[in-house]
Amino acid sequence: MCQCRTQIGLRCRLTSLALLGVLAIGGLNPSAAQIAVVAHQQVPADSPSRRELLDYYTGDIQTWTNGRRVVLYDLRNNEQMRTAFYDYLGKTSSRMKAIWLRRKLSGEGAPPLLADDEHQLVDTISRTEGSIGFAHLDLADSLKMKVLLVIPDPAENN
């Protein structure tokens, strides 16, 4: 994970571009079958582990390393993608919601913000500092946001 604390590092950008390039060359239609974990360009994170990603989404980690608050985004109307993403994190959607409800009851945090669709989500993320979300890879504009991770979409593969 790149330790980009105050500004977007050149190395982080290059890593993201290289990742996208590899995926574009290696896959037949990668954007259609793969889910990208995207974040605002200034998010000081690079290739977070599965555990780290889960900690962000359960609220166990609520700030980035640069001190900015982690802003979580979820999709409202895409069950398949949500299920695939949370499966990757090792949880079900319902379990995540139970966790978020617990956070809400304890006042320790709020559930992710809901985007109506992926376009809205990537657009919001590109504009919201500290935000993180997930969408199909082909919607992730590397010039506008940071692609932290690419995970296969089993639903698309099926």
């Binding site: 079900t92 959607s93 319902s94 379990r95 919601k97 139970a98 966790i99 978020w100 409800l101 617990r102 809400k104 009851l105 304890s106 559930p111």
Partner: protein, 584 residues
């Protein structure tokens, strides 16, 4: 190969295998059944009951969450709200934990679901409804936090209630599925137990029956043969050797029976041999008895011959003695005859003198006859003297011949020895006219009286002296320059006396020295000696007088025989001695 021909150890192994294999199979089967039973029980305890329990707990917690949500919506106090929120947090935590547990138990291989498709469908439906309920819970919480109780209640009693009913029903269904699985597993375990128990009992029964059957067969085969052998052994012990054991089969018992029969055959042969040998032995005993009789007869003859020989020896010594005695008597008799003749002549001369002296006076007659009378008197004395000497010799001979054998008498040793020296010498001279020897006498004046058996000891001395005279005479023949001598010595040594006869004859060859006292052994030519002289002398000295007769041999240069006897016989008494002295 027939079974009865098999060795016992093979039979034993077959029987053991026949018993052990079913037992091992039963044990293995029992173990597998027990393992299956254990798996079922473990599945019931660790999976199925837990699943049902977790579902029940989830249902309770879901109900609790709903109740708390209603309370949270109904109150306005923020503190109370927070308390209820804390309770709800705990409930949600518990629900999450139980869901995690259920997720892990669903896929546990120990207890595969009996109807997994249905369970998956029910659980998926529950998960969707539960998620939708959670979505509503966010809205209800927002309304409740905003104290919009009516709206919150509306949601709770409308959509949330419906969803709650749905997922609660689904939880109950899941509970039923798991309970049913637990019951089925329990039933299966029980069936497994009953089935295993029945099969184990049946197999055990079969094994026991088979083992008993095999055991009986093996024992019958074993004991049947042994009993036959035992009966045969008893018959043999009773003396019936014609018996035989008939056992079919070539196992150890069969071989034992065969060996027993061989042994009996050998025993019969051996008994026949023994009987034949006993008969032969009896014949040989009869022959031996005959031979024994013959041997006894021969022994008697030998003893008679021996006695004859001893008598011959005695006669031989008596011959020597007689010759000596004759010579001893002849001398005084010559004197007596000569002096008697002389006295007769003197008497004639005296008569002439007396006739011529008729006219003479008595004095003149006495003068003229006195000398003749003195001569006559002297002659008469000499006749008397020699007559007494002859009388003494004769009396001595009489005493010698009349004395009881084995009866000791006190004798003056030197006189006794001298007497026999003279007898022996003259005896030798009587047989060997050219015999000449120097006799050296070395008598101990203090030798004194000795108690001995004169006859016996005289025979010893005659023997020793004759041998000495013979030895010097023989050497004289070979070596004329050698001056023969025989030395006779007596000596008193404390309570014993010694008579020593030495000669300078040829001695005894060294290799024969040890045999001189053996009966019938002689170095003299055949016919010259019986070979019993020294043997008898040895017995007389040792047994008759309690003394010793020893030889100091000088091969080629003579020999010395020494008689050493007690001066006083242990068996004699003072009264005997005094009586003997008085009679003399």
């Amino acid at each position: 190969m027939r079974i009865r021909d098999m060795p016992l150890r093979v039979k034993q192994r077959i029987a053991a295998t026949a018993i052990l294999i079913p037992m091992a199979a039963v044990s293995m089967y029992s173990l597998s059944q027990l393992s299956s039973l254990k798996d079922d029980i473990s599945a019931i305890n660790t999976v199925l009951l837990r699943r049902a329990n977790v579902i029940a707990q989830l249902n309770l917690d879901a109900a609790s969450l709903r109740v708390n949500q209603l309370q949270h919506a109904s109150i306005r106090s923020s503190e109370q709200k927070q308390m209820i929120a804390d309770t709800m947090i705990a409930v949600i935590d518990r629900i999450n934990r139980n869901l995690d547990v259920y997720d892990s138990l669903r896929t546990n291989p120990k207890a595969v679901l009996s109807n997994p498709i249905r369970e998956r469908a029910v659980y998926a439906s529950f998960d969707r409804n539960w998620e939708r309920y959670l979505d509503l819970s966010f809205q209800i919480l927002d309304l409740s936090d905003a104290n919009r109780s009516a709206a919150a209640f509306e949601l709770l009693n409308d959509d949330a209630r419906t969803l709650f009913a749905l997922f609660s029903g689904e939880l109950q269904e899941l509970s039923q599925i798991n309970t049913q699985d637990a019951e089925e597993t329990s039933l299966r375990a029980e069936q497994t137990f009953v089935s295993a128990r029945n099969r184990i009992l049946a197999t055990l029964l079969i094994t026991v029956v088979a083992a008993l059957g095999l055991g009986i067969v093996v024992i019958r085969q074993l004991t049947g043969g042994l009993e036959k052998l035992l009966a045969a052994a008893r018959r043999v012990a009773d003396g019936d050797l014609s018996t035989a054991v008939e056992i079919d089969g070539r196992d150890e018992i069969g071989k034992l029976a065969q060996s027993f029969n061989w042994m009996l055959s050998s025993l019969r042969k051996s008994t026949d041999d023994t009987r034949r040998q006993a008969a032969e032995l009896r014949d040989q005993q009869a022959v031996l008895r005959t031979k024994n009789g013959e041997l006894e007869s021969a022994l008697k003859q030998v003893r008679a011959a021996q006695q004859q020989l001893i008598l011959s020896e005695k006669m031989a010594s008596l011959g020597h003695l007689t010759a000596g005695i004759a010579h001893e008597i002849k001398n005084p008799l010559n004197f007596v005859n000569n002096f008697a003749q002389l006295s007769a002549d003197i008497a004639s001369e005296l008569r002439e003198e007396l006739e011529a002296a008729r006219d003479k006076t008595v004095a003149e007659v006495i003068d003229s006859t006195d000398e003749l009378l003195e001569d006559l008197q002297s002659n008469a004395r000499k006749i008397n003297e020699h007559g007494q000497r002859a009388d003494r010799i004769v009396r001595s001979m009489l005493e010698h011949s009349r004395g009881k054998s084995g009866e000791t008498q006190p004798v003056e040793l030197n006189t006794f020895v001298e007497e026999y020296v003279n007898l022996a010498f003259h005896g030798m001279r009587a047989t060997q006219q050219d015999f000449n020897v120097e006799i050296r006498r070395n008598y101990d004046n203090g030798a004194g009286p000795v108690e001995l058996v004169p006859q016996e000891m005289g025979r010893v001395l005659i023997n020793l002296l004759n041998n000495a005279f013979y030895a010097v005479h023989e050497r004289g023949k070979r070596e004329p320059d050698n001056k023969p001598f025989v030395e006779i010595a007596t000596e008193r040594k404390g309570d014993r006396v010694v008579i020593r006869v030495s000669d300078n004859g040829g001695g005894i060859p060294a290799d024969l020295e040890k045999r001189v006292f053996e009966p019938f052994f002689s170095t003299k030519p055949t016919g010259k000696g019986t070979g019993l002289g020294l043997s008898l002398s040895f017995e007389i000295v040792r047994d008759g007088h309690g003394g010793l007769l020893t030889l100091d041999n000088r091969p080629g240069d003579g020999a010395t025989f020494e008689v050493r006897i007690p001066a006083k016989s242990p068996s004699s008494s003072e009264s005997n001695l005094s009586q003997h002295a008085a009679s003399r």
